[in-house]
C-alpha cells in the first residue's frame, strides 16, 4: 500500500530489458512461493498514482518521471486509461530529438494490465512473460487503481514473511503457555465428544472441532490434517456402525496426539477382514452418502503412526490411534 520511496534499482528502471529474478526465487523457496499465491496484487501495489493526459508534452512526462523516480506513467483520458508511457518511449523520442510531441504520439496503446484481485504469482508470471517492468493495476470495472513493480512484490513478500514470523511467535507462546507454564510430570489436554449413532447430519462436527483445536494449539498443518482425516473416518464409523454411538476422545501431549473411540457394540467379527481395503458392511444408504467403500480403516492407518483395534462381538470396539509429534513441530517445546 505504501508508495515506493527509495530510488529504483537499475532493473526497475530498465524494466523491459530487465530479467526477472523473483519468479525463479519463488520456485526455489516454498514459503515464498506459498505467499505469492496468498498475497493479492492490491495488497502489494502502490496506490499513489502519477498519470499523464494524452495532450501533455512528453517533456512534462519526463519531469514527472524524474521527480517521482518512476519509469512508467499511465495515460488517462476522461477517467479511462488509454495508454502508458515508459522511459523507453521517452528515450526513443529523445533519440529523434523531439520532446515537444504530445504523449499520445509515442505512448504504448495496448497496455498489459493486471486485476487487483489476482494473486502476486500471476503478476510474477506476467512480468516474466512480457518482460515489462511495471504493470497498471485495474479493478473489476477495468478502472486504474494502482501500479505494481517487481520491487513492490519483493517488499510485499518481505512484510508478509515478517508478519508470518510474528504470528508464529504468538502461536508458539500460546502453545508453550499450555504445555510449559503448567508444570507437571505429564501434561495432557483431553477433548471428549459423544457421538450419536445414525446422526448423519452432525457427522463430522466433532472432527471439525478437533481440527480447529489443534490449529489453535499451533500444531503443524501436516499433523493437523492427518489427525483430522483419521478422526473424521473414526467419527463416521461410530455414526454408521454402532448400536448406541460411542465416545471420541483426543489426548494432546507435547510429544504425541492420541485419538480413540469406544463403543458398546455390535463389535467386529473379523478384524483382519475389516482391515482389508474395500471390505465393507455398510448399507446402501451409507454408500449413497459417499461412505462405506471399505476404505475407512485403511485411510486411518495411513494417517497415523500406530493403530490398535480391539473388538468383541456383542460387547464393543475400541480403537486407539497415535501420531508422534516431531520435536521441532511440537505444540510446546519440550517433552514435559
Amino acid at each position: 500500500m505504501c508508495p515506493p520511496t527509495k530510488p529504483q534499482t537499475e532493473q526497475e528502471i530498465y524494466g523491459r530489458r530487465g530479467r526477472t529474478i523473483t519468479d525463479r526465487d519463488a520456485h526455489d523457496i516454498s514459503r515464498v512461493e506459498e505467499l505469492s499465491y496468498d498475497l493479492k496484487v492490491h495488497e502489494v501495489m502502490s496506490t499513489e498514482l502519477r498519470t499523464a493526459s494524452p495532450d501533455m508534452p512528453l517533456s512534462e512526462v519526463l519531469e514527472i518521471m524524474r521527480i517521482h523516480r518512476i519509469s512508467g506513467v499511465p495515460v488517462v483520458e476522461n477517467d479511462e486509461m488509454v495508454g502508458i508511457v515508459s522511459l523507453e518511449d521517452v528515450v526513443h523520442a529523445l533519440y529523434k530529438g523531439n520532446l515537444d510531441v504530445p504523449v499520445s504520439a509515442c505512448m504504448t496503446r495496448e497496455v498489459v494490465t493486471i486485476a487487483n484481485y489476482e494473486s502476486v504469482v500471476k503478476a510474477i508470471e506476467t512480468f516474466s512473460l512480457t518482460r515489462l517492468g511495471r504493470l497498471p493495476v485495474v479493478d473489476e470495472n477495468n478502472k486504474l487503481v494502482g501500479m505494481i513493480t517487481k520491487g513492490d512484490i519483493t517488499r510485499g513478500i518481505l512484510i508478509a514473511l515478517q508478519k508470518d514470523y510474528q504470528d508464529e511467535e504468538v502461536r508458539r507462546y500460546r502453545a508453550s503457555h499450555l504445555f510449559e507454564d503448567i508444570i507437571s510430570d505429564r501434561t495432557t489436554l483431553v477433548l471428549r465428544y459423544n457421538i450419536k449413532a445414525r446422526d448423519f447430519n452432525h457427522g463430522g462436527n466433532a472432527s471439525s472441532n478437533i481440527k480447529r483445536a489443534l490449529m489453535r494449539l499451533g500444531a503443524d498443518p501436516q499433523i493437523t490434517r492427518r489427525c483430522g482425516i483419521a478422526v473424521y473416518e473414526a467419527e463416521m464409523n461410530l455414526i454408521i456402525h454402532t448400536n448406541n454411538g460411542g465416545i471420541l476422545k483426543l489426548e494432546v501431549e507435547p510429544h504425541r496426539i492420541t485419538m480413540s473411540t469406544v463403543d458398546d457394540g455390535p463389535g467386529i467379527p473379523d478384524i483382519t477382514q475389516a482391515l482389508q481395503p474395500g471390505y465393507s458392511t455398510a448399507t446402501e444408504q451409507v454408500r449413497e452418502m459417499g461412505f462405506g467403500a471399505g476404505m475407512g480403516l485403511v485411510n486411518m492407518k495411513r494417517c497415523v503412526d500406530t493403530m490398535e483395534l480391539e473388538s468383541t462381538v456383542g460387547k464393543g470396539t475400541k480403537l486407539v490411534m497415535r501420531i508422534l509429534v516431531p520435536n521441532e513441530t511440537l505444540t510446546g517445546h519440550s517433552h514435559g
Partner: protein
C-alpha cells in the same frame, strides 16, 4: 488459478456469495467417494463431486479442500449450504458433467491433486 476463473470455466454459479471467493486454487480432484477424497487429495484443491450432503463439506474441511463444485447442475441440501457458509467454503453448481467439468479445468492448466494409489 483464482476461484473466479474456475467458476467461469465450468459455467458455474456460486451458491453462497457471502463467503470469500478471492482464493487461489492450486489443483483439482473429482470424486463421489468421500473416502477417496480423504485418501488421495492434496491440500488447496477444488473438489468436483456429484454428492450434495453435509458430509461433502466436512470431508472438504478435513482434507483442506478450498471449494466444492457440484456437477450436473446439482443443488446442495440446505444443511450442506449452511455448514459450508459457516466454514467459509465456497459452493458452486455447474451444468457440466463430472468428466466435462474436470476436463475443462485440466485443459486450462489446473493440475490433478489426486495422488496415485499408495503402493502398500
Amino acid at each position: 488459478m483464482n476461484l473466479k476463473e474456475i467458476i467461469e470455466i465450468v459455467d458455474g454459479t456460486l451458491l453462497n456469495p457471502q463467503v470469500d471467493t478471492n482464493i487461489e486454487i492450486r489443483g483439482g480432484i473429482g470424486a463421489d467417494l468421500m473416502s477417496d477424497v480423504l485418501a488421495a487429495s492434496q491440500p488447496d484443491a477444488i473438489l468436483m463431486t456429484g454428492l450434495t450432503n453435509p458430509q461433502v463439506v466436512r470431508t472438504a474441511q478435513m482434507a483442506d479442500i478450498r471449494a466444492i463444485v457440484f456437477v450436473r447442475g446439482k443443488q446442495p441440501q440446505e444443511q450442506t449450504l449452511a455448514i459450508a457458509t459457516q466454514e467459509n467454503i465456497p459452493l458452486i453448481t455447474s451444468p457440466c458433467g463430472m468428466f466435462e467439468g474436470c476436463g475443462r479445468l485440466h485443459e486450462t492448466g489446473l493440475p490433478s491433486f489426486e495422488s496415485n494409489v499408495p503402493s502398500d
